[in-house]
C-alpha cells in the first residue's frame, strides 16, 4: 500500500517536471551552428559593381518576375522583403491519400487522409544587399521561408527553404535582370 502511494507521488512529480520541461524555451537557438557557413555560400552572391541602388532595383524586378509582391523595403539599408502565395498540392501525395481513404472505406472506417494533404503555401523572401568588406563589390544575400496549409486549412509545415536549385534560379534571374536593366530593357 505504502509502496503504491510512493509510486503515485513520484509519478505526479515526474509528470509536473515533464510538463514544465515542455513549456520552457529551449536554449542556444541564437548560436550560429556549423551549417551556417554552408548556408551562407548557398544564399550569397557577389556582384562586380558599387551601385547598390541598381542591384536593389534588379532584386525587386526579379522578385516581381517570380510572381512575388513586395511587402517592405528600406533602400538605405539595402533591404527588400516580398511574399507570394502559391499552390502546394502534389500529385503523389494526393494519390496516396485517395488510396488510403479507399482502403479505410473498404475496411468500414472513415479515413480522411485527404484533409491532411497540402493545399497552399506562402513563401517569404528577404534580400539584403550591402557593400563587401573591401568595398569594391556588392554582396547580395537572399533567404526564403515557407508556411504550408493543408486541405482543412491548418498549418502543416513551416520551414526555411534550403534547396540549392531555388537559390540558383533566383540568382540566374538576378544576373539577367542586372544585364537587362543595364541595357535599359
Amino acid at each position: 500500500m505504502r509502496k503504491r502511494r510512493r509510486f503515485l507521488k513520484l509519478s505526479i512529480i515526474f509528470l509536473c517536471l515533464g510538463i514544465i520541461g515542455c513549456a520552457s524555451v529551449p536554449k542556444g537557438f541564437l548560436k550560429p551552428n556549423e551549417a551556417a557557413l554552408e548556408k551562407r555560400q548557398l544564399q550569397m552572391r557577389q556582384y562586380d559593381t558599387t551601385n547598390e541602388e541598381q542591384i536593389l532595383a534588379a532584386v525587386a524586378g526579379v522578385l516581381q518576375d517570380l510572381g512575388f509582391t513586395l511587402d517592405n523595403s528600406e533602400t538605405k539599408l539595402g533591404f527588400v522583403a516580398a511574399s507570394k502565395k502559391a499552390d502546394a498540392t502534389s500529385g503523389g501525395q494526393m494519390a496516396g491519400a485517395v488510396f488510403l481513404d479507399m482502403l479505410s472505406a473498404l475496411g468500414g472506417g472513415h479515413g480522411n487522409a485527404m484533409a491532411n494533404c497540402d493545399k497552399s503555401q506562402v513563401v517569404k523572401a528577404s534580400v539584403i544587399a550591402k557593400p563587401s568588406l573591401d568595398g569594391n563589390k556588392i554582396t547580395v544575400r537572399v533567404t526564403f521561408q515557407r508556411i504550408v496549409w493543408n486541405m482543412s486549412n491548418q498549418i502543416s509545415k513551416v520551414e526555411t527553404i534550403n534547396d540549392p536549385e531555388i537559390y540558383q534560379k533566383f540568382y540566374d534571374g538576378l544576373s539577367k535582370a542586372i544585364f537587362l536593366e543595364a541595357q535599359k530593357i
Binding site: 524555451v25 528600406e74 522583403a81 528577404s126 539584403i128 533567404t143 526555411t160
Partner: protein
C-alpha cells in the same frame, strides 16, 4: 437540507471567484514579465564603440541571416530590424533596435520571443551578441 444549501452556496461562491478572476487576468497576461525591467534591459542591451548606425544595422541584419532569420521589416530612421525563424513548429521572432548612446557609442537591444513566450534567458542573448561581435570586429560592452 440545510447542509445541501450550504454546500451549494460555497460552490456558487467558489465558481464565481474562479470565473471573475479568469476574466481579469487574460488581458494582463500579455503584459506580464517574470524579470524586472532593469534586469531585462541589461541582458538585452550592449554598447559598441562605433557611431556608424547604417553599418551596424546592416551587420545586425547579416548576423540575423546567419542565424537563419528571415528579415521582415527594417527602418534606418527608427533603427529597428525585425525577423523571424522557424524551430520545428515554433516561430521565433526577434526585434533589434540600434540607437546612439552619447557621442561615441551605439546601443543595440535585442528582444526575442519563442512561440507565445518571451525569451528571458541571459545566455540566449549573449549568444546573439557574441555572433554580432564577431561580425563587427568590435567588443560588446555590458551596460549598467
Amino acid at each position: 437540507m440545510k447542509k445541501l444549501m450550504r454546500c451549494c452556496g460555497i460552490f456558487v461562491i467558489l465558481f464565481s471567484i474562479a470565473v471573475l478572476s479568469g476574466c481579469a487576468t487574460t488581458a494582463g497576461k500579455a503584459f506580464e514579465t517574470s524579470e524586472s525591467q532593469v534586469k531585462l534591459r541589461s541582458m538585452q542591451t550592449r554598447a559598441f564603440d562605433t557611431t556608424d548606425k547604417q553599418k551596424m544595422m546592416q551587420t545586425v541584419m547579416s548576423t540575423m541571416q546567419d542565424l537563419e532569420f528571415v528579415i521582415d521589416k527594417a527602418d534606418l530612421t527608427l533603427g529597428s530590424v525585425s525577423g523571424s525563424k522557424f524551430l520545428g513548429y515554433a516561430v521565433v521572432t526577434m526585434t533589434v533596435t540600434v540607437r546612439p548612446k552619447g557621442e561615441k557609442q551605439l546601443l543595440v537591444r535585442a528582444n526575442a520571443q519563442y512561440g507565445i513566450k518571451s525569451v528571458e534567458d541571459p545566455e540566449t542573448y549573449q549568444d546573439f551578441f557574441t555572433a554580432l561581435e564577431k561580425a563587427l570586429f568590435l567588443t560588446a560592452q555590458q551596460v549598467d
